[in-house]
Symmetry: C3
Subunit: 344 residues, 3 copies
């Protein structure tokens, strides 16, 4: 796609300084901008790039502009970051959406799809599945029996949704994520571990986004639940019967063990582990790689394995880094003490 | 499916207190039970729910029953947990199994399947593959050449099994797990890393269960082995030439590096890392997130990164939590010591 | 395949001691060698196996041979390890490669493939895709629009490559890895997190190998880049706009957060986490499970979470292991100090 500076300025209500017919055909980050591309500067610390950037059109926050002429075409706006977001969303929409049922998709006769749905080649839709209006199911997706998928979802290639799981409206699930595999439940016996049947399901609220290669296990009985607006990164493990509230963000490779309950608006860092059967309140922050093994109250900030208050962890870790020095101080004290004893 | 209280009681040899015609159509955990559902209470701490639960039928351990009338229909049994397990297994069996070869599955002419096998749409079966009686292979599975799969296995959608791998009887492999991808073996040269061909395979014993999104690499030469009855959770890495014995349980996101040998009946926690070329004995417990970098004897309990004896780790970690206080104590001692020196 | 000792010796320019007609049909590691198999001994510490190994033919480094007769047929070479590598590579090549377009693969009419390309059943190739000569794309692969794949690549079953991503020449990508899923970018608002469109792509240099079940996210704008010759193990997370240089090795389950820049020839251990927006130089070694949260210079060796100099970490960890003892020493000093105070 091709746009002129004046078309772009019109979308975001900006003021052009320079050539309004400058043409852009792509978008780049400011550090690696190239001719024919659009970029933006919203922060003081990048303002040096205004004169040196090699792109053709640059959206800049007004307060960073001090001159009347620039080597590239400038579009001045109040907040360049927000304006750029608006453009990116527009661009995404312009790329269009897929629709129609591609040849090679397999539907059970008892399943039903809403209006304007896309189903890609080699996707399998089992018995009694319902797919809502405007949803897009990419190729190679497996949808088990009695699954319900809401409206306006995007399910990327290779996602597996086991029987009886429920996906809300406006959800996005990235490639190769598995929803509803069996919880890890076995009873030890003398002869080995015996499987505990996993008869529950997974329920995703509306506006949930899940990255690629995640595993969200079904409940043993009852549901594993991910609340409205919660966003989950890649390679994440959510075990059986976990309940996650609304508007949480969980970074890549984190894992939540069985039956743990998590509130709203929490931030869980990458590679964090949370043990089973505990409760995490609301607006809790858990630093990357932490191991949380007891319940956390609203607003706590946690770090370490096992996780403790984050400031406390950092302060103690400073001492850990000086441990050799600290032990020397103790040895010196012992030496002194011995000398005093000797003198007495 | 629909059952009456008396049908349920018959399955588990229970005694009904209340309406023997009460009907249940589903199953719930006791905390979120609803009308028309069945639940159970096996522990003292849940006995408060006997009077308040909103389900229609409740299986309860006899010793927890003190009255003659209850608001819901009760089925009294010796051990409600075990009885509930029996029912769940029955229920699972009643749901039936898939069979037959679905249209769209692709078989090489040299491959063979046993009796009553299910092969789903878009599954690829390569040259010289053998699939045992009663096994169920879901859609979108890839099976490389010369692979052997035993009897009564369930291989879920999206599993990939590379050439020459062997799966025992009664195994379950969940979606998107990869069996037999190349081990991570490269030789450094001046010009970059050169690949070491990975010519071995993976051998899974009988009754092995593997969760979703796991990676089990093939041996460089020889086999990567997972012994009989070992259960592996989701998102787990098993590197080339690892040998794992019988009846181990390995929790989600753990990783075992190359050529390590693991005995029987070990419990490996979530996100644990075990380095390559070491030996773990039998009945070892490794706490979640630990990093094991040396061999472990039978019965050890390990924690920390690097992992040490778990009680020792916990005791030392208490001191770590008090480190700021401890350093203050040292400073005070130094102050005292200085005063004494000054006085002399 | 079947070979005689003399055929093998000819491939690697070795000298036979024993029966030159001994036949081998397979290859085993020395510890579990069996009749009819070939193995090798290159190190002093395995030389005890020369007399006890049950294989039929054994390649041995000359310097380890002290006798004139052995129970098995020996092939003496200068460096048995290198000779064995040569054979393994030959063997791999003999197994042949796949070619041709299998029935059931779906191509958009605007896509094009080079010469001698293999495309497996149920693979989807979208609009404007280009696949270079000699590349092998296994079954069940999804290739989004405008993707470019170089020459001589192997893309295993179940790989997903999103729109506009670029794969260099001689790359290998193992099963169920996802290239180009959306970066994890959301803006908090009062009503929940709003998605930031992810419009960039992923670019893999030549000779890149990526294991199974990895997630490599596309750039928000611009590219996520993995440089020439870099090798990535299984279950690894590479976030949006990460730039990785040449000839790095990254072990299983490591994760690199957004916009971090990594140089050349680094070694990143298993389960390592690297935070976003930092720089790692060249020839840095990061020990397994470390959490790197600040930039690292060339040649650093890091360990711990947060990661510090590895020797320092190990030294301090020794003190951590003795922490209870150290606290006892402090208590004793306090006792002494109190006694002195009392005496005065």
């Amino acid at each position: 796609m091709e746009f002129t500076a004046s078309q772009i300025a019109a979308f975001i209500d900006g003021k052009i300084i320079g050539d309004e017919n400058a043409i852009i055909t792509g978008v780049s980050p400011i550090e690696s901008c190239e001719p024919g591309h659009l970029s933006f500067i919203a922060q003081e610390r990048f303002s040096g790039f205004i004169k040196s950037a090699k792109c053709s059109v640059l959206i800049v926050s007004e307060r960073l502009l001090t001159e009347t002429n620039y080597p590239v075409t400038i579009i001045a706006v109040e907040d360049a970051y927000l304006s750029f977001q608006v453009l990116m969303n527009l661009y995404k929409e312009m790329q269009g959406r897929r629709s129609g049922i591609e040849q090679g998709a397999v539907f059970h006769e008892t399943s039903s799809v809403g209006e304007n749905v896309y189903v890609g080649a080699f996707t399998c839709v089992s018995e009694n599945v319902k797919i809502g209006d405007e949803s897009q199911i990419y190729p190679h997706v497996y949808i088990g029996k009695n699954v319900k998928i809401g409206k306006n979802c995007i399910i990327y290639s290779g996602v597996r949704i086991y029987d009886y799981c429920v996906v809300g409206d406006d959800c996005v699930i990235h490639s190769n994520t598995v929803i509803g595999s069996d919880g890890f439940g076995f009873q030890p016996t003398k002869d080995g571990y015996q499987k505990i049947p996993q008869l529950g399901n997974v329920v995703l609220g509306d506006h949930v986004e899940i990255g690629s290669n995640c595993s969200i296990d079904r409940g043993t009985i009852g549901s594993t639940i991910i609340g409205k607006g919660t966003k989950i990164d890649n390679l994440i493990q959510i075990a059986h019967n976990v309940k996650i509230g609304e508007n949480n963000v969980i970074a890549a490779q984190a894992g939540i063990a069985g039956s743990t309950i998590i509130g709203d608006w929490n931030q869980i860092g990458g590679q964090v582990g949370v043990v089973g059967h505990i409760q995490i309140g609301n607006q809790v922050k858990i630093q990357a790689q932490s191991g949380v093994n007891s319940s956390a109250k609203d607003g706590e900030v946690l770090y370490g394995s096992p996780a403790i208050n984050a400031s406390e962890y950092r302060r103690n870790y400073v001492h850990f880094r000086n441990f050799t020095e600290i032990v020397k101080r103790i040895s010196k004290l012992e030496e002194n003490s011995k000398n005093i004893d000797d003198r007495e």
